[in-house]
């Protein structure tokens, strides 16, 4: 049972279809692990559904309609089922099992693998932190959203576990640490890079994809 959830604003944007691809991936992954938020989104989807039902129709081309009916007449060829792992919830597992993550080391304790990058600069990436390791003190150049998938992460807000969706705004300075029991694996969406606040690490102040 998750203790940290997307806030009202994120759930509204997700349901309304205006949140962007990176957050869409992170929130849908959280929903697969959190019945409470899945329930909330289903309630909000009733509003989205009504918006569709009341929309003025826009002409759909005959070609599009014909393609729908042609494809529906073609027998379905069995697709290899996405390999669902214990770590990755459904929205991530298909992506990752067919398109293996390319982990890149960031120092001895941290690995990262990009998932997608929006034109706005917002990125979604996976991060793995060695158990017990600490990320040096930093704040952020934008908002950061972290979905914990394995292990735990601890900062002054407490310990976060699998399914927790943690939002951190730019002003917040922290020094998160992976729990001692297992490596921490998480999905991160960042609208800007991190900004290390101490010493030599300031040279690392840009994410590799930005």
């Amino acid at each position: 049972m998750a203790s940290f959830h997307p806030d009202a604003d994120l759930l509204l944007r997700y349901s309304a279809g205006t949140c962007g691809a990176a957050l869409q991936l992170a929130i849908s992954s959280h929903l697969a692990l959190c019945n409470e938020c899945a329930y909330a989104v289903q309630r909000l989807d009733a509003i989205s559904g009504m918006a569709i039902s009341e929309a003025q129709p826009t002409l759909v081309s005959k070609k599009c309609l014909q393609q729908i009916f042609d494809r529906c007449k073609t027998p379905v060829t069995a697709q290899p089922a996405a390999q669902v792992t214990d770590t990755y919830p459904a929205p991530l597992s298909g992506l990752i099992s067919q398109n293996p993550l390319k982990w890149e080391s960031r120092g001895k304790d941290i690995q990262q693998a990009i998932l997608l990058k929006e034109q706005s600069g917002t990125v979604a990436y996976m991060m793995k932190i060695r158990k017990g390791a600490e990320i040096p003190e930093h704040n952020h150049r934008g908002d950061e959203f972290v979905l914990i998938l394995e292990g735990s992460m601890i900062d002054q807000r407490g310990a976060t576990l699998r399914g927790d969706f943690v939002t951190t705004d730019a002003a917040f300075t922290h020094k998160p640490r992976a729990g001692d029991d297992a490596d921490c694996v998480c999905l991160v969406v960042a609208t800007g890079g991190v900004k290390f606040t101490k010493g030599l690490l300031r040279v690392l102040n840009v994410l590799p994809w930005q």
């Binding site: 604003d9 509204l12 529906c72």
Partner: protein, 191 residues
């Protein structure tokens, strides 16, 4: 300022029920029912998508993928006690739209396009009973006008917070706080 939520047109609930029946029949292989469903819903879904900045051709691609998934897999799982046709389709279309986005941006991301699951996570969860159209209208009517304006802009017009703030002159922080209040009210009144 948008109009307040409309009263239900006289045949609206009948219409949604009929479409629900079509979807259930489509789940059992009824091609005629499926065709009726596509002709009624696809043009409305197209409007919804284009308001979210999908081009005409991307919107039609998303529509095509949504209805093919509906026919091949999802319709058989449709339960009118849990959902209605439109709520059901929102979940699928949202995932298909995300797939479309990734396909468009595959080169940028230097990663092969892989479609995600066809059916939205929320549809697979044990998410309780359907919220009917009347309950949604009531919940929207209970919102103060300034909160309704923000919800309408987001859900009906597909505007982001930033677009709404720019279009209306309402400060971004005010937009966000109105939406937070609206969310609390909607959660209370939608169950």
């Amino acid at each position: 300022m948008p109009l307040r939520p409309k009263s239900a047109p006289k045949d609206a609930s009948f219409e949604t029920e009929t479409l629900n029946d079509f979807l259930r029949a489509a789940g059992q292989g009824d091609e005629t029912a499926f065709s009726e469903l596509v002709h009624h819903v696809a043009p409305r879904l197209k409007t919804w998508l284009m308001r979210r900045n999908y081009s005409d051709s991307d919107a039609e691609d998303i529509i095509q993928e949504t209805f093919v998934a509906l026919w091949q897999q999802a319709a058989a799982r449709f339960d009118p006690l849990r959902s209605n046709i439109y709520t059901f389709i929102v979940g699928i279309a949202r995932h298909k739209a995300a797939d479309r986005w990734r396909m468009r941006n595959a080169a940028v991301n230097n990663a092969a396009f892989v479609p995600l699951d066809d059916v939205a996570d929320t549809l697979q969860s044990d998410a309780g009973e359907n919220v009917d159209a009347l309950a949604v209208r009531q919940a929207l009517k209970l919102l103060p006008a300034e909160q309704y304006q923000c919800v309408y802009a987001m859900f009906y017009q597909g505007l982001t917070h930033e677009q709404l703030a720019a279009n209306s002159g309402i400060p971004l922080g005010t937009v966000k706080s109105r939406l937070r209040l609206a969310y609390s009210s909607l959660r209370k009144n939608l169950g």
